[in-house]
Symmetry: C2
């Protein structure tokens, strides 16, 4: 029986917030189906979304036909500025929280979680430029701005954009062990050498 990981897509999602984790998780689940996980994307209506920088990304599911998720990932991007004030979306996130063992976010996805009350009295991180806003949305959050990601059990938040790659490699380690995570890292040749 496959356990499902869902990556949420929305207009204004930051491209790498979603596709970095997608690459890590889909590489893992397609190459090692014996681990019993699958990953797919989901948008509210199941249609394509127009991401932050103008790239169109396709969704596999709508909210209505989405599978039950064992892990849910909420990326960030400029679109979160709307979602964090969208009571319909916040209600949906709260309902996901109740039934999903592990909720994760990348970048400003944490703003939406904070607005939905998911981060109350929890340690968390976000994109460096959104730290003040996160604290404003929920002053009870214990900010960990130096961390690449913060694993707090049933909740993992990560820093900005590219940090989603590190967070999801950690997720593979947590769900399938360090050897598997190293195989995925090798598979995407993730030996980063920022040239500047």
């Amino acid at each position: 029986m496959t356990r499902h990981i869902g990556i949420f897509l929305f207009d204004g999602v930051e491209e790498l917030d979603a596709v970095g984790p997608w690459e890590v998780l889909s590489h893992w689940t397609k190459r090692f189906p014996e681990d019993g996980f699958g990953v797919s994307t989901v948008s509210k209506d199941g249609k394509h979304v127009l991401a932050s920088k103008g790239l169109t990304l396709g969704a596999h599911h709508s909210f209505a036909d989405a599978p039950h998720y064992d892990v849910f990932l909420h990326p960030g991007g400029p679109g979160t500025r709307i979602l964090m004030r969208d009571t319909g979306h916040l209600d949906w996130v709260q309902r996901q929280r109740v039934k999903t063992p592990l909720m994760t976010s990348v970048c400003s996805g944490a703003l939406v979680y904070a607005a939905a009350g998911l981060l109350e009295n929890r340690p968390a991180t976000t994109y460096w430029n959104d730290v003040a806003l996160l604290a404003e949305l929920d002053p009870t959050i214990s900010l960990r701005t130096q961390d690449r990601y913060v694993d707090d059990g049933d909740l993992i938040t990560s820093a900005g954009v590219s940090a989603g790659i590190d967070m999801t490699l950690h997720l593979v380690r947590r769900l399938a062990g360090p050897d598997r995570a190293r195989e995925v890292r090798r598979g995407i040749q993730y030996d980063p050498e920022p040239p500047v």
Copy 2:
């Protein structure tokens, strides 16, 4: 007058090969339009493509309506196994080479360049698992398998998947200077910490 950077999309393109560079380059060009560059995606017929792991990615242009490119980027992915034997595509790549000042590749995109004769007697790199095939396609290539990317003037090749992020940060540095590249790096919070 805007100078154009084109990212090629095709069925079986590896998602992060294309979207890592897209994030770097679109972040740069949208935030700093004064630098005079723009980036867009292009597929043969201008339609969406189904990428390697099952994500749909949208193209902004077809070959027929594409702008003149100053920089062209050929990603890799399983789809290159077909493209490297597709004489129509190889002809198109050769015509691009003639009119494009800077041709770049990520991952197994180098296999297509090799098959089109672009790498003859040049230093180059590719995905770690494709090194033997690259050497077989063109034994005159000087392989640089330890390099994250190889800048040979009018041609830049890079290692696998995630290496496209490093290569395009180098590209921003080359086209707009190190300070700009550092701003883009900060913008995508690219302070990688692989957890395994």
